[in-house]
Symmetry: C2
Subunit: 323 residues, 2 copies
């Protein structure tokens, strides 16, 4: 169903410190950086230096609060992160206090990666639709680069740090949904940072990605998910004005375009300069596409996130007004 909610605003924060190909080659002289870049399409990555996930989320969300002066209207804060500050408490509590949101505000972290924004849209819209909350702020923020070995050729050329804040409100003009959400936990170890919260011996864990397994999962599940949503909504692929996929890499997006036979101009990408910012990637791409006039209110926009979990989430949205 279409929830009677809409995205009213998106703002984002990308750390100013940037790494380009030559920085990677300086650490890894044997890397053929041009070959890597032609495959990933990613020419630079934002790297958090002093900024934590909460700091980045704060910088993004503060822009919305300044613009709308609505800190007292927000009663739901969802922080999508896999880079929390502590094992406990939930980092969303720290962000609630830092942003000056009222205490009668729900706040919790959701541990999801590249599918996390779409999942959070489902939660946020549903809580508003059901009358539990009235205005929700979804903050997606991750510092994955902290988990990556400098010599990891699979992960380092791809992942970038960043945060996006998305304001969701009741709105009969826009819409959020329907959704197609799923999980294949049999691939839990294909994209993983091991921790030792299950034992007393913490180890300094690093990100491990089985790139080909995640790629196969994506090519298998995402086209099915897109087609299921079109059937659910009773529309054709040509009725969709724009597609915003999780900005995994050029290789992944080119193959999705090919498999789904999508017109390239309808698939909005920003991975070249932004990189793969995990759960923040879809809202950052949405905002940039809106700023560039590539999407506007009333457009039917397909979102699809996929990756760590393994997990995927797709949905259709319409903006009720310019974000």
């Amino acid at each position: 169903m279409h929830l009677k909610t809409s995205i009213k605003a998106i703002e984002y924060y990308l750390p100013p410190f940037v790494e380009v190909g030559s920085d990677l080659v300086a650490d890894n002289p044997e890397w053929r950086i041009k070959d890597i870049e032609s495959k990933t399409g990613i020419l630079q990555r934002h790297i958090s230096t002093t900024e934590t996930s909460v700091d980045m989320g704060f910088f993004a969300a503060r822009k919305i609060l300044k613009k709308y002066d609505n800190a007292d209207d927000i009663d739901l804060l969802i922080l999508v992160t896999q880079s929390p500050l502590y094992v406990l408490p939930t980092s969303a509590c720290i962000l609630q206090d830092k942003l000056g949101l009222k205490t009668t505000c729900m706040a919790f972290d959701v541990n999801l990666g590249c599918s996390g924004f779409v999942y959070a849209l489902a939660m946020c819209s549903s809580l508003i639709e059901a009358g539990v909350a009235s205005q929700g702020l979804i903050v997606c923020s991750d510092t994955y680069t902290k988990y990556i070995e400098s010599s990891d050729r699979t992960c380092r050329p791809i992942f970038s740090d960043g945060a996006a804040a998305t304001l969701v409100v009741s709105d009969v003009f826009g819409s959020i949904g329907p959704f197609d959400l799923g999980t294949d936990g049999s691939g839990f170890d294909k994209l993983i940072v091991k921790s030792a919260t299950k034992s007393n011996n913490l180890i300094n864990s690093k990100l491990h990605m089985n790139g080909s397994a995640v790629f196969m999962f994506t090519m298998n599940m995402v086209p099915k998910s897109i087609n299921k949503l079109l059937i659910k909504e009773g529309i054709m692929l040509t009725d969709v004005d724009a597609f915003i996929f999780h900005q995994a890499s050029k290789l992944v997006l080119d193959n999705l375009i090919r498999r789904l036979e999508l017109p390239k101009n309808k698939v909005l990408v920003n991975y070249h300069k932004v990189g793969n910012t995990v759960s923040a990637s879809i809202p950052i791409a949405l905002k940039q596409a809106s700023d560039e006039g590539k999407i506007k209110e009333g457009n039917t926009i397909m979102l699809s996130g996929f990756g760590v979990g393994l997990s995927w989430g797709s949905c259709l949205i319409k903006f009720g007004q310019k974000i």
Copy 2:
């Protein structure tokens, strides 16, 4: 509002290994255990040995799936935990696979503690009410004892490991809601396990609780929350058939009873033998109270969880049938 959903079933798992007062004294001969026990009311704690949070959640949820043979009907799995197996992926994915739930099932971890069950009820009910999901399984599971120093007199006598699985379905006879949910992140460091996901140097962190600060927060917020809900629902305190608070300790519950002037027989407690099992404490107490015939379908039951975050959540529920 009342969501048209209800708790259909609860099952739980408590690790068979139990620590009693003499075990604590063996490690800490200077402890006056009778004084501690008369304050906490907690006479034993369940300690996970080989069981992880996912294992315990699995044991609890499997009982529901066996009873109802409904693994294919569940399309939403919320794992409330602050003891995940990994930094990423979300442990809910591992549980989805282990339980044999279908891949068209949402699955995510929510990082919340003692308020987590009530928060998850809000999310689960709202997602069902909004048509995003049809049957939800809430699994609350924590192994806090792994974070506790053997000599910590504030935490060790209180916290216990355990898991509860709660099945939520559409149901016009029962109800879930209204809710009162809140956050005071200014107290984020009053109950904390520091980790080092914000740096590259992981440290072996332990639970720290400022007992008096958490106590003050609870006495300040919980009575207000209960009274707000009564006003929202338009009922009197005497209209509530049973109160199930987070089983923090005897000291906390006795003071809530005193402040709210509650009849003791309406406040159902199980802390003596179960201990404080964090987010699993309310559903375990609900199930035990139902099994003992102390609550039944149609009863108006007030739930209230509070603690780490700092965060609180209260709600009213009615069972549509015996759980």
